[in-house]
């Protein structure tokens, strides 16, 4: 802002002062050199505020005509600091450009402080502010998705307001939580009840992701799954900057699987009648309520009925600025989403206030506080049921109300629109009050120079309420009202003492941390039913004849002490050692504390004398780290055997009964991760090619897992420390500048991650745990199942081919391989011995490719993401034979008949999958994830309007997916009929957004 104003002034002055010569145009020549005198080819030279310019040739020379003396030339080149030169009287310029090597001066947040990027010994990935600004997201992790190596972000749900699932370096723990630890401005939101969804992406200045043990050691127990550090924006001491960002977008289903035609549906009914004897109400239709529409030739597209064009909009205004001793950043944000399925709504309103005050020369205090309101109100249409509805089903009764069961007498699937007649409220308030005080002791007493103390204190309160009433419109004749409320109170206190000492080329810094955390959660729930009518809903629950209440509370606490020493010599040799001691309430008495050391070395090869002349190499750094970290990610109270209360009537009145609930483990202790990381950061040709390569290995031991027990013991599972896993991986980030001319630039960025995990030990006896599904030498999540090799055909059964293979087989059954028997050879029957490990549930590798094309003021960004090597049971296929004779279904899933003896699809016989094959398939996919076209309005136009910056963009998300998956989406989260959580059935969406970023 200040710069812009200055330019306007300068510009204006020149215009007045030089009015005599201003119109005179001339030609200018020159040469661009580096600090060492080498010429630099390919430098972009532009007349500021225009698209007029040229590019330096192989010798660094350039010529530019039609310039005026008041023009300012902007010299830019990737990896160099930008240079501006006012033309003035000059006709021949010699311009020297300095390296702007990433990592030399750049300071990044590393946890309990900052560090020069060049001095970091750990593996840290950053998400550029540019990416955050240019890709409109409702959730910050969407911007990280696929853009950072080693971080896998799965958008398991597109439901407005739901956070994606994040995994750093493929997890490694078997059943303990694998979510990374999220810290905002030094205060964790993870484990304190918060969600990544509580952060307004517009407020974010930077995101750093700490991946290896050295980087995460500082977070100890919380670092095992990686750490995501988010820094929010702060003001600068200048005139106020007012910024508006907004976007408006539309959403639609990314993919609608083709449903069967009506003819095909009737054929399926008929086949069900033939093979299972399933009744047809009035052939060819199956159900009573289909008769009328069938006879009238009337059909309903139920998917269309439950869907709508999704709309999302976001408006964010921020004001930042400050004076000498005070800076501020205040923002307000409104996000409003209307989902593609009716009733799925989300509103998020947030306010953030970040204030830093330099109270005295030695004391700085500040606050980074936010209030967020989430609203997910709305009666949600049931997509699962819409998918099942016959096109001949009945939508409305004569009185205009929804028909409860459109396929009546089938009552398994109610009208998908019924829930839209209710108006549940789902609301949540998060209040995060964070503050800090920062003391520089050197300003109090000179000899203490380098010693600082920082106190971070954060308190968060999360209040939520869900209210629901169901009445006659959803066939709840009694009427049922429920209200659930919950409250989380959490605080974090951190005392951070730091000492920095520089002498000659030696740099030492010491950090000590003492912190404590506590979270207290409580929830209560009330239900009432049997109301006189539906008028009052949940607002007067005592009007229900029958009511019940419940409540629950728990507490979590942790204490940590940490010490870290960084030493560097001449920014060439880097050394970090960290020791952290963590105590967590979740472990057994006497097992609560764990100590986790780590050590790391770095060598900035580029800074060595012998590299001084290696002009082509801009950056070269080797990193080596080794460390241990702990994982405590199990729920509270797992060390106790507990009883649960239940209700049971005796003699017509309710009694309380006690039953065993969970088996406790009084030996429960830390899971430990020991990891080793070797990394190389590189940059060549003035960083036209740069990136980093990391290889790592990690061993998790004493894994916290839910071990299956024989139920004859009275319990089915217990949480225990068992076994070891080993993970090896490689991560690559590569950025290249492919073309750089005056008006056209093309940058590419590739991220690639590959990791392989295996279980190396379970119980020390060299045996697998088949009961729990764990196998030595195999990854953690595997699919162990039969090998399907086709479908049993009639002639095979007639020939008796099945008798020595699978004697129970019938024509049309799934044919699985007889691989083995109790003696290790095929035994002529299909048993558990024939199951083999078919694949793993986690992807083998993931990749992302971003191409950015810039032409004049236009920037086009294309991001493609790929996920390969994972396998998943396809429940759509799994349930098919049991259900497609009586509901609508996907056209792609077929079935076997004697006339059409498919070798792919089984018959509609209810027992055509007698061995319970799970139909696992690869869910590989490649997605055109984002395309964004951005236009920066030229500066000279803005200047006239007094605007500092204005850009407009058009962005598309989830534009196309290449996959063989049958269903809505390879990442879909779906639940089949019979489970209560049907609301999670929500399709992947395609979004097109128009946005604007305006800075005054």
């Amino acid at each position: 802002m200040a710069l812009a104003l200055m330019l306007i002034i300068v510009h204006g002055t020149a215009a007045f002062a030089g009015s005599g010569t201003a119109l005179q145009e001339k030609s200018i020549t020159g040469r661009v050199v580096s600090t060492s005198g080498e010429s630099i080819p390919g430098v972009s030279i532009l007349v500021k505020g225009t698209t007029h310019g040229t590019i330096s040739d192989i010798d660094g020379n350039f010529t530019l005509s039609d310039v005026r003396s008041e023009d300012i030339l902007v010299f830019s080149f990737i990896g160099m600091k930008e240079v501006e030169v006012t033309v003035g009287d000059q006709t021949n310029l010699e311009v020297t450009m300095e390296d702007a090597v990433i990592g030399v001066d750049e300071v990044v947040v590393v946890g309990y402080g900052t560090q020069k990027k060049s001095d970091i010994t750990g593996s840290v990935s950053s998400v550029s502010e540019e990416r955050l600004a240019k890709i409109p997201v409702s959730n910050v992790m969407q911007a990280v998705q696929g853009a950072v190596s080693g971080v896998s972000v799965t958008q398991v749900s597109s439901i407005p307001g739901e956070a994606p699932q994040v995994l750093v370096r493929g997890g490694g723990s078997l059943t303990a939580s694998t979510e990374p630890y999220v810290v905002v401005d030094g205060i964790p939101i993870s484990k304190m009840g918060g969600s990544i969804n509580d952060i307004n992406p517009n407020d974010i200045k930077s995101i750093e992701i700490l991946k290896d043990a050295s980087a995460t050691a500082i977070y100890g127990m919380n670092g095992a799954n990686g750490v995501i550090l988010i820094t929010t924006k702060s003001g600068k001491s200048s005139k106020p900057t007012i910024k508006y960002s907004g976007y408006l977008g539309v959403e639609e289903f990314a993919n609608i699987p083709e449903m069967v035609s009506t003819d095909e549906l009737l054929a399926r009914y008929a086949e069900g009648n033939r093979i299972n004897g399933s009744p047809l109400y009035e052939a060819p239709v199956k159900y009573q309520y289909e008769v009328e529409n069938y006879k009238n030739g009337h059909t309903i597209d139920w998917i269309d009925e439950v869907s709508q064009t999704g709309i999302q909009q976001n408006h964010n205004i921020s004001i930042s600025g400050g004076s000498e001793n005070l800076s501020y950043y205040i923002s307000g944000d409104l996000l409003d989403q209307k989902g593609v399925v009716k009733g799925y709504n989300y509103k998020r309103n947030s306010i953030r206030t970040n204030i830093d005050a330099q109270v005295t020369s030695y004391l700085k205090i500040g606050t980074n506080s936010s209030i967020v309101y989430h609203n997910r109100d709305g009666g949600r249409a049931n997509l699962l049921n819409a998918e099942a509805m016959s096109p001949y089903g009945r939508m409305y009764e004569d009185d205009g109300t929804y028909t409860i069961y459109p396929m009546f007498g089938e009552t398994l699937w109610a009208n998908p629109m019924l829930p839209t007649t209710t108006s549940p409220e789902r609301r949540q308030f998060n209040v995060n009050l964070n503050g800090f005080a920062y003391v520089t002791f050197g300003d109090i007493w000179k000899p203490l120079t380098g010693l600082t103390y920082r106190l971070n204190a954060g308190h968060s309160t999360i209040q939520s309420r869900n209210s629901n009433y169901t009445g006659q419109s959803v066939n709840d004749l009694l009427g049922t009202a429920t209200i659930s409320r919950s409250e989380t109170q959490a605080y974090t206190i951190e005392n951070i003492l730091r000492y920095d000492y520089d002498v000659n080329k030696h740099h030492i810094d010491l950090t000590g941390v003492y912190s404590s955390q506590e979270r207290v959660y409580n929830t209560n729930w009330a239900q009432a039913s049997d109301f006189v009518n539906d008028e009052l809903g949940w607002d007067r629950m005592q009007a229900g004849a029958s009511s019940s209440v419940s409540s629950y509370a728990d507490r979590y606490a942790a204490i940590s002490q940490m010490g870290r020493l960084n030493y560097s010599y001449d920014s060439r040799y880097l050394f970090t050692v960290t020791v952290r001691r963590d105590g967590s309430s979740v472990f057994a008495d006497g097992m609560k504390y764990g100590t986790f050391p780590s050590v790391a070395l770095g060598w900035n090869i580029r800074h060595e004398g012998f590299m001084a002349n290696a002009e082509k190499i801009t950056n070269l750094k080797l990193r080596l780290s080794y460390g241990k970290s702990g994982n405590e990610a199990v729920s509270v109270y797992r060390t106790f055997t507990t009883m649960a209360d239940r209700q049971i009537p005796f003699g017509g009145s309710t009694n309380i009964a006690m039953v065993t609930d969970r088996l406790g483990n009084s030996d429960l202790s830390w899971e430990t991760k020991e990891s080793f990381n070797l990394g190389l950061d590189f940059g060549f040709f003035n960083n036209r090619i740069n990136g980093s390569l990391d290889v790592y290995s990690a061993n998790n031991s004493d894994l916290l897992l839910s071990r299956k027990l024989p139920s004859a013991s009275g319990f089915g599972s217990v949480t225990a420390n068992i076994g070891e896993t080993s993970t090896k991986g490689i991560e690559l980030t590569l950025n290249t500048v492919n073309v750089a001319t005056t008006n056209f630039k093309w940058n590419s960025s590739i991220v690639f991650s590959n990791s392989k995990s295996e279980i190396t030990e379970l119980y020390g006896d060299g045996l697998d745990d088949i009961g729990s599904g764990w196998f030595l030498g195999e990854p953690i999540g595997v699919i162990r199942d039969y090998k399907k090799i086709g479908i049993w055909q009639e002639d095979e059964i007639t020939n008796g081919d099945h008798l020595d293979w699978d004697p129970v087989a019938k024509p049309g059954d799934v044919k699985v391989a007889d691989i083995s028997g109790p003696d290790g050879v095929p035994d002529g029957v299909i048993t558990d011995d024939d199951r083999v490990i078919l694949g793993q549930t986690a992807p083998k590798w993931t990749g992302g490719l971003t191409n950015t094309f810039a032409y004049k003021n236009f920037t086009l960004n294309v991001f493609i993401q790929t996920v390969q090597g994972a396998m998943r049971n396809n429940s759509h296929i799994g349930m098919a034979a049991d259900e497609i004779e009586r509901r609508n279904s996907f056209a792609e899933i077929g079935y076997w008949t004697p006339e059409n003896q498919s070798n792919e699809w089984r018959s509609l016989n209810k027992n055509s999958n007698p061995h319970g094959y799970g139909f696992p398939v690869k869910n590989n996919f490649t997605r055109i994830k984002d395309i964004t076209l951005n236009y920066d309005v030229p500066q000279h136009l803005l200047d006239k309007a007094g605007i500092s910056a204005l850009s407009l963009y058009l962005s598309g998300r989830n534009l196309y997916t290449f996959t063989d998956w049958i269903g809505w989406d390879p990442e879909e989260r779906d639940t089949q009929r019979g489970w209560n959580n049907w609301e999670i059935n929500y399709p992947a969406v395609r979004t097109v957004v128009f946005g604007i970023n305006l800075t005054l």
């Binding site: 009744p279 206190i493 558990d832």
Partner: protein, 562 residues
């Protein structure tokens, strides 16, 4: 803020900062007082209820009936398929593992309760815990043979369980049930209705003695129930349904009529499944599927509906509420089992005819040569008929499989506020005095006293033929004599008396007669026919997951299973 921080710091430094105390759960060791022990004993009933209220696999009820002499599959769900297509029965069947794990859940809870009660504790409380332990081990021994015998609560993870020889398990069962029979109060003395009484333990013990081939002991214990004077055979109409269609036999199975306090003098053990109304919560834990299994899906006949508004406090529905028709009586039951005049086969107890009940219904249908409904313009129609509300409903040929068949009324269950009927709301009759006579008849037969057995059977027949005798004037109608009695006859009579009430599979496994009795059920339909049955099916397989999870001791699978 610094002050605040220091305050927090002070708190966090306190010694017990990291200590855990569950706020919202009880620990077993805190339940050792009187009330805690009572709650733990009630918990045994609760978990027992979970066995029969299971709805995750809706075909669960069919598992115990299909593939025997008495029942055939209707609209199958899946879990029950291997119980009539026996070649498919393997150790991964969900029913096989559910019954196993529920029994052991109750056993571990009982062992917990016993520790809480203590050796010197109240014998009546100890007896209730031991009753459930013995009862569940009896199920396990009957179904699985050798099973792990655990008599101590599990306090830490175990994967080293041994299968105990069934003879040892039987000894524990007898000891538990004897203790229970001696120390439980009689049915009039329990804390509240439906809690364990000594006659439950005695009836159970009688059945165990029969399985162990100790008929003398069986007769003794069963006789003491009969001679207790506390129970009597229901021979007169009673209770809430007295004003609606029915008879004294059907009265015992009506909502609001099943408990002793409601007038049912045959009730030894009625599991309360409260209708969730009037402040009574609890009861059905899942969504018991009995009605949906036993009642046919008659609402699929055009002109028939399960919707019924003429409900008073009796909660009686003319057709029993909405069914899914998963279990059908076998042809043997439908057409051969009953003699004329047997009230247990009356239209009130086994309904065979439907009358159009959809308001305003009228239609024109064709009737084919076999008397089945076809379209009026069908070439198969041999005649055309106009029908309307109140007429006998015409059924289509395929309707006999799950839509319209003769069905038992013991599992009627109608909730006017949930007419489409997700869940059963009626009590479960677990033990009835009528069965006591059947068990004693079996004991007496084995003791060589066929005449005594005939006497016991005649007690039931005097009731069953009471009305017919009055009507016909033939006081000998339905009477049996000692020459009629053999084990098959007793099993037939059990079917007549206890159809849809007893666990037929367990009865036939207990008596070792499953294979030959299943041969009576010869019907062959598209829904499934009994196949692949052999002597190996006198035991169920041990659940595969149990074998795999118990990794430190290898268990042999029961013979014939893989």
């Amino acid at each position: 803020m610094i002050v605040m921080a220091l305050t927090f710091l002070a708190i966090s430094c306190s010694e017990d900062f990291l200590d855990e105390t569950p706020y919202s759960s009880y620990a077993p060791e805190t339940l050792t007082d009187e009330a805690g022990i009572e709650a733990a004993l009630k918990g045994l009933h609760y978990n027992f209820g979970r066995i029969w209220t299971w709805s995750d696999q809706q075909g669960w009820a069919g598992v115990w009936q299909d593939g025997t002499d008495v029942c055939s599959p209707g609209g199958v769900q899946g879990v029950e398929i291997p119980f009539f297509k026996y070649e498919d029965l393997n150790s991964e069947n969900a029913a096989v593992s559910y019954m196993w794990s529920m029994c052991y859940l109750i056993i571990n809870n009982a062992n917990n309760a016993m520790v809480a009660i203590g050796e010197d504790g109240d014998p009546a409380k100890m007896a209730e815990a031991r009753f459930f332990r013995g009862y569940c081990y009896n199920i396990l021994a009957t179904l699985y043979g050798d099973v792990p015998l655990l008599t101590e609560p599990t306090s830490s993870a175990r994967t080293d369980l041994e299968r105990t020889p069934v003879s040892q398990v039987n000894a524990q069962i007898v000891a538990d049930l004897k203790y229970a029979a001696e120390n439980l109060p009689d049915i009039t003395g329990t804390v509240s209705e439906s809690r364990a009484n000594k006659h439950m333990a005695m009836q159970s013990l009688g059945e165990v003695y029969l399985r162990l081939d100790q008929p003398a002991d069986a007769e003794t214990v069963l006789t003491s129930i009969i001679n207790s004077g506390l129970f009597s055979i229901v021979e007169e109409r009673y209770g809430v349904a007295i004003d609606v269609n029915g008879d004294y036999f059907s009265d015992m199975f009506k909502f609001g009529n099943q408990r002793r306090s409601e007038g049912n003098t045959e009730a030894i053990w009625t599991f309360e499944l409260e209708y969730n109304k009037g402040g009574i919560s609890g009861g059905f834990t899942n969504a018991p599927q009995q009605r949906r299994n036993w009642v046919p899906a008659y609402h699929n006949i055009p002109g028939m509906t399960y919707v019924y508004d003429g409900v008073d406090e009796s909660f009686v529905h003319p057709y029993g509420g909405r069914g899914n028709g998963r279990i059908r009586p076998s042809n043997w039951v439908k057409y051969e089992l009953y003699e004329d005049g047997d009230i247990r086969n009356s239209e009130n107890n086994i309904t065979r005819t439907f009358y159009y009940n959809a308001p305003g219904y009228s239609a024109t249908w064709g009737i084919d040569a076999n008397g089945f409904r076809v379209a009026a313009d069908s070439p198969d129609a041999v005649m055309v008929k106009d029908v309307m509300v109140g007429d006998t409903a015409l059924i289509a040929a395929s309707d006999t499989l799950e839509v319209a068949y003769p069905y038992t009324r013991k599992w009627d269950s109608f909730d006017p506020t949930d007419q489409w009927g997700w869940t059963n709301i009626k009590d479960f009759p677990i033990m009835r005095f009528g069965e006591t006579y059947l068990l004693r008849a079996e004991a007496r037969l084995k003791n060589g006293n066929a005449a005594g057995a005939a006497d016991d059977i005649n007690v039931l027949r005097d009731r069953a033929f009471k009305a017919a005798r009055e009507e016909s004037g033939n006081s000998e109608l339905g009477k049996v004599s000692s020459s009629d009695i053999d084990l098959d006859f007793i099993l037939d009579e059990r079917a007549r008396e206890l159809f849809a009430e007893e666990n037929r599979r367990m009865t036939l496994m207990r008596t070792g007669t499953l294979v030959e009795r299943a041969a009576l059920n010869t019907e062959s339909t598209i829904k499934g026919t009994i196949s692949g049955i052999s002597e190996i099916h006198l035991l169920l397989p041990i659940p595969l997951s149990e074998i795999q999870r118990n990794k430190d001791v290898l268990w042999e699978q029961n013979p014939g299973y893989n």
